[in-house]
Assembly symmetry: C2
Homo-oligomer: 340 residues x 2
DNA sequence: CTGAAAGCGCTTACAG
DNA sequence: CTGAAAGCGCTTACAG
């Protein structure tokens, strides 16, 4: 910027110390003096240099946000919540995309720390980095929050949506529609896939059914839609006996649900007439497919807002206690499931 | 961060000047000295404080990016391209969301300038701010690029996709399918809507048809899907004579196309059997609807990459010449259009 | 309530 | 090839 604090001080006939006090209102300043200084600031359009103040205060009013895939609507919605909340409190966000790669995730975070952001929010942290203690290491230097990737042994702050309850709601619903032969569709390494699978196995166990699990590796990119569709139609075409009995699919996210619907369509199966599909997340896409997808709403924006609120608390109150926060999920009934 | 340049200098037994030279390799340093210093940097895990160097150099290696709606897949894809390109060159991005509000857009940009980002990319700039000369003002202080919002009288850098050609391709295609009674669906204030409407009117003129224009204000949010659907079914239900003749819709983006499809479906019209729909953008959604949407690909990622490349050139070469850059569009044939 | 001075962690002429 | 010193624009004890 053009003007410095010195210009303002000169114009106002005071010391730079006083100007600083007017700007930050952290010390008493006589009313008239304040007025005078404020007038000059206004007239000059002076903006304090954040680098200079940041250098001294060790404060940048910046938040680092990491997502594993920016084109995925799920994360976009969460980021929306984060941005909305933090903007009002004067924070700006650095958005970084790890593309679901553990090394990139580490690199990005290290850079963010180097840039002296005030805090970091990591969405869907890579399991590898959780296990290695990387996040705990970072947490010692700087406030950090993991969103949707819980590990109870970690000394890290978590903000989570209640995926367990959401998953149970989904299975209870499928069972209430008399479905028992349910296939499970998941992606690669992630806490939330593992959690859902655990619950699925539990339900299958109780029902005395054999689990049928499809694992598509790349779960966070929109490519997954195509992959799952392909996989489904391949399996049916091969006359896979297990799948042929399947009356319903539980998918770990709505992208996968869309894939299942497309795959079924490709081989002439109608959803929900021939087979039911239930998704997870409630991204905007789930309302636009045909049929519209019955799914579990993760309340992404609220998830983002909570994460932002939390990290700012950590930053400002120096609240260092590690704790978890849980956001409720909600079953959304639409068109992709039907009673047997 | 823990260590400073002084720690490194002490450990290595050299001056901080030398350490600085090793880090920036902008002056000759004896090989052995360099090795020694590098070893210490490595051992300490030293990272230079970017605030301190930024303060002196007036350089932050940060890019500000403004979008009118982060949940819109179109912008997400462009941001992906920007991020991908700029990350490799050592720049990080500040993402800001103006929510399509002109005042927010100005506020955000002012803040970004105050934060001393090295350059700013504004996507779909608000017409109001283009007219008022705001962008030209900012351009004098800092490199700035407007993506998809051209105004030939402005002394500003533009990166654009060739929406004109894309629009003509779409209409040519519809005409080749014998459609003439085409309705046009657009959003509020935006250069690209205006451009497309102009071309639409031209085609209608040549064909001797009366233009039929639906204007849904909020064109950049996913809400537009619902709004357009509602609008369509309302119009048909009111037996609007003009719309009843319509055999095809040209929509300014894929969200609107989805809205038209949903609206038609609600009133029992089949796409493409009863009516054809052509979209614009080729967002991921257009492949997931049923029918899949025939649309004009804007090559969003490339758009983003070009914008990033351009802004970095402006920053690094101090290339101040104002110029426009055009990205090709491409007609994507899918399922939502049918010959009469 | 106000100011002079030290200092945040770096870079860059200047001198050798 | 290397170092001492000034300075980037601010904040914060310290002194009054």
């Amino acid at each position: 910027m053009k003007y410095t604090i010195e210009d303002v001080a000169r114009e106002a006939g005071v010391s730079i110390t006083t100007v600083s006090r007017v700007i930050n209102s952290n010390y008493p300043v006589k009313k008239e003096t304040r007025k005078k200084v404020e007038a000059v600031i206004e007239r000059l359009g002076y903006q304090p240099n954040p680098l200079a103040s940041g250098l001294i205060r060790n404060r940048t009013f910046c938040l680092g946000v990491l997502v594993p895939g920016i084109t995925n609507m799920f994360f976009t919605e969460v980021v929306y919540g984060i941005e909305k909340y933090s903007k009002n409190l004067g924070y700006q966000v650095y958005l970084n995309n790890s593309e679901g790669d553990a090394e990139w995730e580490r690199n990005n975070i290290t850079k963010l720390v180097g840039r002296l952001v005030d805090g970091i929010i990591v969405m869907d942290p890579q399991t590898e980095n959780m296990r290695s203690g990387f996040f705990e290491e970072v947490s010692k230097k700087i406030p950090l929050i993991c969103v949707n990737g819980y590990n109870e042994n970690m000394e890290v702050n978590f903000v989570l949506s209640n995926e367990e309850k959401g998953t149970r709601d989904a299975f209870d619903y499928l069972f209430s529609l008399r479905h028992k032969k349910i296939a499970f569709v998941r992606g690669g390494n992630s806490y939330s896939y593992d959690l859902k699978e655990k619950i699925y196995r539990e339900y299958m166990d109780v029902a005395g059914m054999e689990p049928v699990i499809l694992n598509t590796q790349d779960g966070n990119s929109t490519d997954v839609v195509e992959n799952v569709a392909q996989c489904i139609s391949d399996l049916y075409n091969k006359n896979n006996p297990v799948l042929r009995d399947t009356t319903a699919f539980f998918t770990c996210n709505d992208l996968m649900a869309t894939g299942v619907i497309n795959g079924c369509r490709a081989i002439g199966l109608d959803v929900p007439e021939d087979v039911s599909v239930i998704g997870f997340d409630n991204i905007i896409l789930s309302q636009m497919t045909r049929p519209k997808i019955t799914t579990v709403d993760q309340n992404m924006r609220m998830l983002g807002e909570h994460a932002a609120q939390r990290i700012i608390k950590l930053i400002e109150k120096k609240e260092t206690r590690c704790a978890n926060q849980m956001i409720d999920t909600k079953l959304i009934l639409r068109e992709s499931c039907k009673s047997l």
